[in-house]
Symmetry: C2
Subunit: 461 residues, 2 copies
């Protein structure tokens, strides 16, 4: 290949070194393992959708990357790619929800509903790569999609799966904040504030402008009395680990069927998630974002000490993912911004790989003539699932040990004379003992590259 | 979300149903597992490269998809995306080699060489989706990259890893055909044909136009004598499982240092691959494609009965993946066109999933009040790694069993009265027995969805 000029990284397109990729792969593996344990099917959709599909979610249309075949215009042979017709122009998907809606409609006759699906794929957004936002990043989604109906208890179930995923990741305390549409809407209505969506929009500004400014908005824009405004603020300040939120809502004057329904829903979510992963779930009645899109429970998730990341995992219940002449598809879904989370895990040293390569053992090579003997030892170890490399060159053993050391490979194997079994050295302790490749076993901790909480020993790169 | 019109599939952008995706995921898992067992690090590169990087491999420039931010031109704020400047315009990568070259140069100070890396990612080519060619597909690459030097025996090593991967896949007989640049070049030179590249280009047409037409080309275009042309054709017909190819080359008059070097190289590859995976490797001196790009051993791989697919896995030794003022990076690499292979595995029913979902057990629900008891059973089973769902609705047990049956879930669990352990039914045989969720164990075959050779029982979709 021709001489390639050195390029510096492209802003907004993250790329990891091998040891960093091990952390990302671990997060992906945990997500998949837990999702499959709960019977979710992994699917992938194509990376492109017709532009007209992507533009349905109007608010982010500027962020779409449109594809064009190079020279398509010059040759005049590819009108379908030229960008004029949004039905035939292709763009890269910016989330996994639009593709899921299309996938469900397209394959509805071949899918069994409720469909339990997870999806971990890259998405692209052409926004300015500021504030640590990426232009290409992994998103990891978990949804249950019903055909025409979907039982309410699925809302708790999806939260349980996500709680178990987050619980297994090397993160500081994670809290899933939950609220439900019926509770907020019912409460505002029972106060006499019929435009509940407008109240939500005001409360949504709480973290940014504070309670006094929100009070002014409620009074000035919505026409609430001081008393009503205070009740809304008090409502939004309720955060409880157990069902005591219900009592506090009632004390604030909340009554009526819708409120009681909301209380039952949220209580069920708290109980079910608490039973699966104690301490992770919190009723937080200030959660407003998305409550006009979502129609049931809504979730946002925060990492202790990393609130600046915003919600790392959001979602909830929606009444219509997609619809055609025959069916409507309601769903419950949660989504992790995986690359953003991994990026923080790496930059804040929350997690690191115990070594930069999968290799557990490096088999040394005495000279090139005896390479087959080293190969044979490696083959035996691999046959028992132990990741093994053979030294690439028969240099001095000191250099071969340095090869292992630089990569964090814990063991170097010195094959014995023909017939004898050889010796294995733990290069961290210097301990060396004779060993048989048919039976030798590393500790479970050394067998595979481990993802350790930050601060523990690990490679520097 | 708004009403979504039903769309038919986009030609060239394959998408699998859940049971089909299990087959694809299996192929990816096997690739990763074997690569890691040999100490290869998995990396991913960003999906985009500057257009000028992509155009270095001139011959496929028309196939590049160029990205443009929607409305970038109208707003005039994004000159970097507008497509005028190939240094700032971004395109989707069409293989994983160009990105690897850039990655190696960009991160050379943070990588340990020789770098053993595998990479499984989607690539995009804007060609017409004819002949079963895809516009978006998975490629799975395996390369060892040295800094300035790379020992010759790595050529055999990479072939061993790929042979083990292919050996574990549910495919008919796979044969890796190997040849080496020195052997071909040395032989043509020893015949007195100095323009060895021209001879290779003629021989490359053998499968298409046959030996008589190739003979005419050799005589007419290269100026070979009838005897030289016949010797070339005889050389290209040599296919041996063992090192007997060497004797036949010598009998055809091949002599000289270069030929002997080539014989030693190819013999080492045959021996080392044969030792790892008996029966998979074949010396095939007709392999010409890529011999002008590759500088050592070259590989092509065919599946018995599916020769129409062409080579499913190709590659070899190249002297310069990338180079800058300080270093040159030689490498050995092999690449599988994974989506194309999976597509054939599915369409020819070479492999199928034993069920369409990961779920092993469906826990039935007597009524919504007792759902927590069903949840508790599921939690116990999952705690022991058994994929478990709880029935979404407390319908009649017959309907719940049909829910499992439609998805191929083998077991339905009926929780007992409080305190008792319940019963589990194998819905394939109808056998039902009392069981304890703390100890019950399915067979290894049922525990996880298996990928079975075609023809065995599996779901229909």
């Amino acid at each position: 290949m021709a001489k390639t000029p050195k390029k510096s990284g492209l802003s907004g397109f993250p790329e990891w070194l091998p040891a960093e990729r091990l952390v990302e792969q671990h997060v992906i593996d945990v997500f998949r393992e837990v999702a499959e344990l709960h019977g979710f099917s992994g699917i992938e959709t194509r990376s492109v959708e017709p532009l007209e599909q992507l533009l349905r979610k109007g608010e982010i249309d500027k962020e779409v990357y449109v594809l064009r075949r190079l020279h398509a215009e010059e040759t005049g042979t590819a009108a379908d790619d030229s960008g004029a017709d949004p039905a035939r122009t292709l763009g890269l998907h910016f989330d996994l929800t639009v593709p899921l809606a299309r996938y469900v409609l397209e394959h509805q006759n071949d899918l069994a509903f409720p469909l339990r699906r997870f999806q971990i794929q890259k998405v692209w957004r052409g926004e300015r790569p500021q504030d640590g936002r990426f232009r290409e990043f992994y998103q990891a989604d978990l949804d249950v999609i019903g055909q025409d109906t979907l039982p309410g208890h699925i809302e708790a179930e999806v939260a349980v799966v996500m709680a178990e995923i987050l619980d297994r990741l090397p993160l500081p305390t994670v809290t899933i904040h939950a609220n439900t549409r019926r509770l907020s809407e019912g409460f505002f209505r029972s106060l006499g504030l019929e435009d509940h969506a407008a109240v939500l929009r005001c409360l949504d500004k709480l973290p940014k402008i504070g309670p006094d400014a929100v009070r002014e908005l409620l009074v000035g824009e919505i026409g609430a009395t001081q008393q009503q405004a205070q009740a809304c603020l008090d409502f939004a300040s309720i955060r409880t680990r157990d069902d005591s939120f219900a009592q506090r809502v009632r004390e604030l004057g909340g009554t009526g069927e819708m409120i009681e329904q909301g209380i039952a829903e949220l209580t069920a979510v708290l109980e079910r998630v608490e039973a699966a992963v104690p301490g992770v779930i919190l009723a937080d009645l200030s959660i407003a974002r998305g409550l006009d899109y979502y129609t049931g429970t809504v979730f946002e998730t925060f990492v202790s000490g990393h609130e600046s990341l915003g919600s790392i995992c959001s979602g909830g219940r929606y009444d219509s993912l997609a619809t055609d002449n025959r069916h409507t598809y309601p769903g419950v879904g949660l989504s992790i911004g995986l690359s953003r989370l991994v990026s923080r895990m790496l930059s804040a040293d929350l997690a690191r790989a115990s070594r930069s390569v999968p290799t557990c053992v490096l088999v040394a090579v005495l000279d090139e003539q005896s390479r087959p003997a080293s190969d044979a030892v490696a083959r035996q170890l691999r046959g028992r699932g132990i990741s093994t490399e053979v030294a690439p060159t028969a240099t001095k053993f000191g250099k071969q040990i340095r090869y292992a050391d630089r990569r964090g490979i814990p063991f170097v194997w010195f094959p014995g004379e023909e017939g004898s079994s050889g010796e294995v050295k733990d290069i961290r302790t210097g301990e060396q003992a004779s060993a048989d490749p048919a039976t030798w076993e590393p500790s479970a901790r050394d067998r595979r590259a481990q993802i350790l909480p930050g601060g523990e020993d690990g490679p520097t790169s």
